[in-house]
């Protein structure tokens, strides 16, 4: 049985987002359930204390029955709500579980054959790549492509597609220059956003203010400002002042910074800003996993030959034009020990296939000698096509 090369196994340490995102959902569902319970409880308590008051005042049986009816009704509402949100909790937990199961799937039990293991690992790797690409698409806002890939590869539930569905709607709304959905999102995640001291809600309110002025509803704008900017944070004061000054300018002003406040491009900034806050909310790093992985992979494969005219290899990904350009700024791989391959046979050069040198300095493996030799000791250099008559072929020693 062939030994399983360690590199054929995969590392899952970097699968943080795969688990953390559904966990955050789970946490949110938990808090929603708690809120539902607390609210239900306080409502029931309200009714109960009225009932208590009725008792204290020795109310008539009809009144007591009425009050009791209220308590029972509230209890039934709470029962329904609690059951619903607890089911949500549970399914959020099962979602985490499903991702976990997938991560563990790559470990095929040891006594299976090399081929079986290899096939399983390859399949897992293919799914992993598709998952990474879906995430990459989502981050760039290529929702349609993400959707198609996830559906065709049947990996929908392993991706964060559904969570990004909300952000897709918010983004589309923002692109239509509407703040309603984004505001709702802010409200939905208010406590978490406050925790990461997010500025996004303020930015939305600023934009709403600007739009009111653009529509020449300056009085409405003042009303809006009174309501929206009342509880400002210290560092927002400057920006509020700048905004308020807009009231004095026409919408086609050329004076900065007011001109850029009127710039419709601010909506695009809002889209990007929202996207970033959404990542922060789920503790996702700003870079996509695919991006960093590709970066690390390119570096691990990059050699100086990839950038020399005569060293390129058709099979090497870093020698392909697109990757070649991306990798230009990345470090080379580190090679502690020389690693040589014969240009003719493609076999590694080692003690079983000694490196040999032609008089022109070109090196190839001992095993290629028979292929290079023509009749009467003529050897054609595989690199330069130079013909040597019975050349002196030297062994070289590479340590």
């Amino acid at each position: 049985m062939k030994d399983f090369h360690p590199s054929e196994m995969t590392d899952i340490k970097c699968e943080y987002p795969t688990l953390k995102v559904p966990y955050e959902i789970l946490n949110k569902k938990f808090r929603l359930t708690q809120k539902a319970l607390d609210r239900g409880l306080s409502q029931i308590q309200c009714f109960e204390s009225e009932l208590q008051k009725g008792l204290d005042e020795n109310a008539k049986a009809a009144d007591i029955t009425r009050l009791l009816g209220g308590v029972v009704e509230k209890l039934q509402v709470l029962k329904r709500k609690a059951d619903e949100s607890m089911s949500d909790e549970l399914s959020a937990g099962l979602e985490c579980k499903r991702r976990l199961e997938h991560l563990r799937q790559q470990y095929v039990p040891l006594p299976s054959s090399y081929e079986v293991k290899l096939a399983a690992t390859n399949r897992w790797k293919k799914i992993r790549l598709d998952r990474m690409i879906v995430e990459h698409f989502l981050r760039l806002g290529y929702y349609e492509s993400a959707e198609r890939l996830a559906t065709q590869s049947n990996i929908r539930e392993l991706t964060n597609l559904d969570i990004f569905q909300t952000s897709r709607e918010v983004e589309e709304d923002l692109k239509k220059r509407q703040t309603i959905k984004c505001m709702a999102w802010c409200l939905d995640n208010r406590s978490k956003l406050r925790k990461i001291s997010s500025n996004i809600e303020f930015q939305l309110k600023v934009q709403e203010f600007i739009e009111l002025i653009r529509a020449d509803r300056r009085l409405d704008a003042v009303q809006h400002a009174r309501k929206a900017f009342a509880n400002y944070e210290k560092d927002q004061l400057k920006e509020i002042q700048k905004c308020m000054a807009l009231l004095a300018f026409p919408t086609n002003t050329d004076i900065e910074p007011y001109k850029s406040l009127f710039d419709p491009k601010r909506w695009n900034d809002l889209v990007l800003g929202f996207r970033l806050e959404n990542y922060r909310l789920f503790q996702l790093s700003t870079q996509s996993v695919l991006g960093v992985t590709i970066q690390a992979g390119l570096s691990a494969l990059k050699t100086p030959q990839c950038y020399s005219e005569c060293g390129k290899c058709v099979n090497c990904p870093v020698c392909q034009p697109n990757f070649n350009e991306i990798a230009a700024g990345l470090p080379y791989s580190h090679v502690a020990q020389s690693r040589l391959f014969c240009r003719v046979t493609g076999l590694p050069l080692n003690e079983h296939n000694l490196p040999m040198m032609l008089p022109n300095g070109q090196i190839f493996g001992q095993l290629a000698l028979s292929q290079l030799s023509k009749d009467n000791g003529v050897i054609v250099c595989p690199k330069t096509n130079r013909i040597f008559q019975q050349p002196k072929i030297e062994k070289v020693f590479v340590m």
Binding site: C14, Y23, F30, A61, V71, F341
Partner: protein
């Protein structure tokens, strides 16, 4: 192998630890849901029971002393039960947040390798990567995904070459499903090229087709003979021996191929192998790469990334500022799959540096090879 096993168990542990915590939470949730349902039903029922008893009292009458006491008692109990319900649920929070902490502890959240050169944040590079991804899907024949990406990422469709690989990929899938016809058609189309490259592909495919006929049993005898006569003649010079062996299989027809030494020739493994040979030889013949460049780089990256992140952490602890050293080389060697090594690399045994065009390897008269930098340092005595 033992190393691998420990590696596996370590890896498994990260998942395991999260799983243990998660299972606790799930169990608590399930229990809580049942409990909540029960408590709320009980409380509701007791109030409803009291309500029913009240119906006996005339609407403008007063409640009896016992009824007063009973209702007060009910209220106090219900209050207590509901209060406990919410605190019980709140207590689960400890377990929930433990899941989060276990994830944080066992997985790496900060994937950025360096603060200096995040090449993937540059728009130009994102554009290039998108091109690679689109080509990756054209390769697999998933044109609709690629086309959607071209549209959404504003790429230009003309930049993409038709992928001959897409056809190969679909034939490869056919062989996996034991449908050999498309492969045979392809092989006869490229028969001459395959012969020139000393490929055994065409013969292997015919052999499979022949065995497939034989496995139908004794009734297929004539068909098999006819097939052999039409298709094997061409290979008689190279595969004479194999053909003789194959013809011997006819002997076993009465007992069935599955009960003969020939059964290995129609095992599922043989099909997988044929599919792989097809992909390899066909790619070689057409001069295209077997694996998608994106898959290779991603694969390499998944090996490299954890190692690099570990090093980053270690270096940060010792307050080494940058991971990418000024020598423009990764700080450690990444052990990639052997077939993903494409270039020879010569590391100077003296200076431990990778040689380059500016600093090429030089052969000493004794036959040993060192870098030119090392040679000049040796000769002017600075080493």
């Amino acid at each position: 192998m033992t190393d691998n096993a420990s590696e596996i168990s370590k890896e498994k542990d990260c998942c395991m630890m999260v799983d243990v915590e998660l299972t606790k939470v799930l169990d608590k949730f399930t229990a809580m849901q049942g409990h909540t349902n029960r408590v709320l039903s009980d409380v509701t029922a007791s109030f409803e029971g009291f309500q029913a008893a009240l119906n006996e009292v005339p609407p403008d009458g007063n409640l009896s002393f016992e009824q007063h006491a009973l209702l007060r008692d009910l209220l106090a109990k219900s209050r207590e039960k509901l209060r406990r319900l919410t605190t019980d649920h709140r207590d689960i929070h400890t377990s929930v947040s433990k899941v989060g902490k276990t994830i944080d502890r066992n997985f790496i959240s900060d994937l950025s390798l360096t603060t200096k050169s995040d090449v993937m944040l540059e728009e130009r590079n994102v554009h290039l990567l998108n091109k690679v991804i689109a080509q990756h899907f054209y390769r697999q024949g998933k044109d609709d995904i690629a086309d959607t990406l071209v549209k959404e990422a504003n790429l230009s469709k003309d930049e993409f070459t038709q992928e001959p690989f897409a056809e190969l990929h679909s034939i490869w899938e056919c062989i996996q499903n034991k449908n050999i016809q498309p492969a045979l058609e392809w092989a006869s189309r490229y028969s001459k090229e395959l012969m020139e490259k000393n490929s055994t592909l065409e013969f292997k495919l015919h052999r499979l087709a022949y065995m497939q006929i034989l496995s139908k049993g004794i009734n297929a005898q004539t068909e098999a003979l006819k097939y052999a006569r039409t298709h094997f003649a061409k290979f008689v010079n190279i595969f004479q021996k194999d053909i003789q062996i194959l013809m011997g299989a006819l002997m076993y027809l009465p007992v069935g191929i599955d009960n003969s030494p020939y059964r290995t020739l129609i095992e599922p493994k043989t099909w997988t192998e044929a599919a792989d040979t097809f992909l390899k030889d066909a790619c070689h013949t057409l001069g295209i790469i077997k694996e998608s460049p994106l898959s290779i780089v991603a694969s390499a990256g998944c090996i490299a990334l954890p190692a690099l992140l570990n090093i980053k952490q270690a270096m940060r602890k010792r307050q080494v500022p940058e991971l990418w050293s000024e020598r423009d080389e990764l700080p450690i060697e990444i052990e990639l799959e052997p077939e993903h090594r494409y270039h020879s690399s010569f590391t100077c045994p003296i200076l431990r540096q990778l040689t380059s065009e500016d600093n090429p390897p030089m052969k000493l008269t004794c036959g040993h090879v060192i870098s030119r930098d090392a040679l000049s340092k040796l000769s002017n005595g600075t080493l």
